[in-house]
């Protein structure tokens, strides 16, 4: 199979070091992966090509990089699935993290974020003679998140990290979920309290890039959403994010559809509305681009309300139990 690859190269020791694209043409086996191609280039064409790899079986998480603009594991990506005969396959280092050389990035940023969430069990009480036991049922929810191989693909393509390096990011938050959800951990509440703060669970923009690129189906964003739900249930309901979710839900319960004027008022409170929302609102009003001041309920709102009532009744029953 004739294939051409365009690789983004960077050698920090070169004179006037700047990234540049270099094209390679190869003849590969039909079953070849992107990693097979890169190793072939390194061994047969250009020994200076730098890349990380180890297991070649999607287990070690070393070879995350961007192929055609998306983060993947090079060893898990078949050439035939990413080639488009009209142009070479583009291969770049993972995003967000600084490039050391060619396809090798500095993972310190990744590890530092994971370390921030205290990535170990914090138990309390008498230490058991043997190991701490958790029932199978209680760990089912954690099975997918424990598949994480720390490859950094989710961090590479995170749209929030692209504009704000302070965000704790999808990998660390998925890891946090793993401990918050562990019945043997005694610090669930304390963990949620920290995660609830600025740059934590509420700063995810729900773009699902991390869900899409994760090679192990950890679905970090889904875990972040579960952390939000757990934080609200645990009583951490004072952040703007929690108040926004609460206000949104109440509005749907009341009228069946979203009242866009009421949402910010209910989220922030009429006296605490952010001042910078004013010019945006005024500009929209001047253009006639405004939702109706009196928001009409949907015709069958009573039926929607009955569903909400049923959920509330069940919640009360669960609390009493």
């Amino acid at each position: 199979m004739d294939t051409s690859l365009a690789i983004k190269r960077f050698d920090p020791e070169a004179e006037n070091a700047k990234p540049y694209w270099q094209e390679f043409s190869l003849n590969l086996e039909q079953s070849a992966t992107v990693l097979d191609a890169l190793i072939m280039i390194r061994e047969e064409i250009d020994g200076s090509l730098a890349l990380r790899c180890s297991c070649r079986s999607a287990i070690c998480g070393s070879c995350a990089m961007r192929v055609n603009g998306k983060a993947v594991l090079a060893c898990k990506t078949r050439i035939e699935n990413v080639s488009d005969n009209s142009r070479p396959i583009s291969i770049e280092p993972a995003g967000i993290m600084p490039v050391i050389k060619d396809l090798v990035v500095d993972m310190d940023l990744f590890w530092n974020k994971v370390k921030e969430i205290t990535p170990w069990l914090e138990t309390e009480g008498v230490e058991p003679k043997e190991e701490y036991i958790a029932s199978n049922e209680s760990m089912v929810n954690l099975a997918s998140v424990m598949n994480c191989i720390m490859c950094g693909a989710c961090v590479s393509d995170c749209t929030v990290l692209e504009v704000d390096p302070a965000f704790i990011g999808p990998a660390a938050l998925a890891k946090a979920y793993r401990f918050v959800g562990d019945p043997r951990d005694s610090k669930n509440k304390e963990r949620l309290e920290v995660l609830d703060q600025y740059s934590g669970i509420w700063d995810c923009t729900r773009c699902m890039e991390c869900v899409e690129v994760c090679p192990k189906d950890v679905a970090p964003m889904d875990r972040i959403m579960e952390l939000r739900e757990k934080a609200i249930q645990t009583g951490f309901n004072k952040t703007t994010g929690a108040k926004h979710a609460e206000a949104f839900t109440k509005i749907i319960e009341h009228s069946g559809s979203l009242d866009e004027l009421k949402l910010p008022i209910k989220t922030f409170g009429i006296l605490n509305m952010p001042l910078n929302m004013l010019p945006v609102g005024l500009r929209a009003a001047a253009k006639g681009k405004m939702p109706p001041v009196i928001h009409p309920s949907i015709p069958e709102v009573e039926k929607v309300k009955r569903i909400f009532d049923k959920f509330e009744e069940e919640e009360i029953e669960n609390q009493e139990e």
Binding site: G69, T159, V160, E162, V163, D164, F167, W202, D203, T205, R206, C207, M208, E209, V211, E212, M225, R228, E229, I232, T239, T240, G241, H244, A245, E246, F248, T249, I252, G256, S257, L258, D259, E260, P264, T267, P274, N276, P279, V280, R283, A284, K287, G288, K289, M290, P291, P292, H295, I298, P299, E300, K303, V304, R306, I307, F308, K310, F311
Partner: protein
């Protein structure tokens, strides 16, 4: 014929979207029966508090369409994505579906799991067909340079949106732009996040995303950006003045709804399409094709 789910924003923050969408559907003989009794999808926000409740509200909408034996048509990437994700959870787990149906029983509804949900963008490419789209063009958009902006929920997650079986969906906006005679301005951010879901929580980051995408497209010489998502429109258009301020440059990139672009090519009056209602003036765009709003 489709069960029409217009979504809240098409009659709220983007009142120009609903009439322009209905009008272009009429031109393509897309018959619509509006799901007037359906609730909001929850937009992923209600789901932060209670996903089961969100899935129940969406199952109610799906059941209504199922009773009419019609597929659902959306005109919002967010509605499309939230509904597709809910439908995936409901149809891949019979136990979960029957649990959700217990909440619908009182209303006499039951969702059997057969409803499909399609955005107008997909309907044009897959059901109406490009030759019909082209046959309705009265005013080809030759000379216009248009950048596509999809909105996260119509491109991810790919399994819920059936992108593997329908790969044409991933380039459907470019397909439509080209069919209407305009030139596609391709750019890296076209399937990234506009920042809208972060707006209330972290406005600075949200506006940074607006600045990044609109500046990139402007630098590439685009006349406008087109989006099938009214939430992307609200952020990219409404917060562009803030993005200009943050990036210390005048961006001035018109952001238009998909039905407005179609309407322009089909010879509709720009005013009827609501092009005068945008925060960033669409005048330079209209001037280029000798129209006034």
């Amino acid at each position: 014929m489709y069960a029409f789910f217009p979504g809240c924003v098409s009659r709220g923050g983007c009142p120009e979207l609903y009439p322009s969408a209905v009008s272009v559907c009429q031109r393509f003989n897309i018959e619509l029966v509006e799901l007037t009794g359906a609730s909001c999808t929850g937009a992923g926000v209600l789901q932060e508090k209670n996903q089961l409740l969100g899935d129940t509200l969406n199952a109610r909408t799906f059941a209504m369409a199922e009773d009419m034996d019609l597929p659902i048509m959306t005109i919002c990437s967010t509605c499309q994505g939230v509904m597709s994700q809910a439908n995936k959870r409901l149809t891949s787990d019979p136990e979960y579906l029957s649990k959700v149906n217990t909440y619908l029983a009182e209303e006499g509804l039951e969702y059997r799991g057969t409803t499909t949900i399609k955005h107008l963008l997909w309907i044009l490419v897959e059901d109406v067909g490009l030759s019909t789209v082209k046959s309705q063009i009265k005013r080809p958009l030759n000379g216009l340079r248009i950048a596509p902006f999809y909105g996260c929920y119509i491109v991810r997650p790919s399994d819920a949106l059936d992108l593997q079986d329908n790969p044409e969906r991933e380039t459907s906006l470019e397909t439509i732009i080209t069919a209407l005679g305009a030139e596609v301005v391709d750019f890296e951010g076209k399937a990234r996040c506009c920042g809208f879901p972060l707006l209330t929580i972290n406005e600075k980051n949200s506006v940074s995303m607006v600045a990044k995408h609109t500046s990139e497209v402007k630098d590439l010489g685009a006349d406008a950006m087109v989006t099938p998502c009214p939430l992307c429109h609200l952020n990219l258009d409404g917060y562009q003045p803030a993005a200009s301020q943050q990036s210390e440059s005048d961006i001035d990139l018109p952001i238009i709804h998909l039905p407005q672009l179609l309407g322009l090519a089909m010879g509709e009056d720009p005013k009827e399409l609501g092009l005068q209602k945008h925060i960033v003036s669409t005048k330079p765009l209209l001037d280029k094709i000798n129209l006034a709003a």
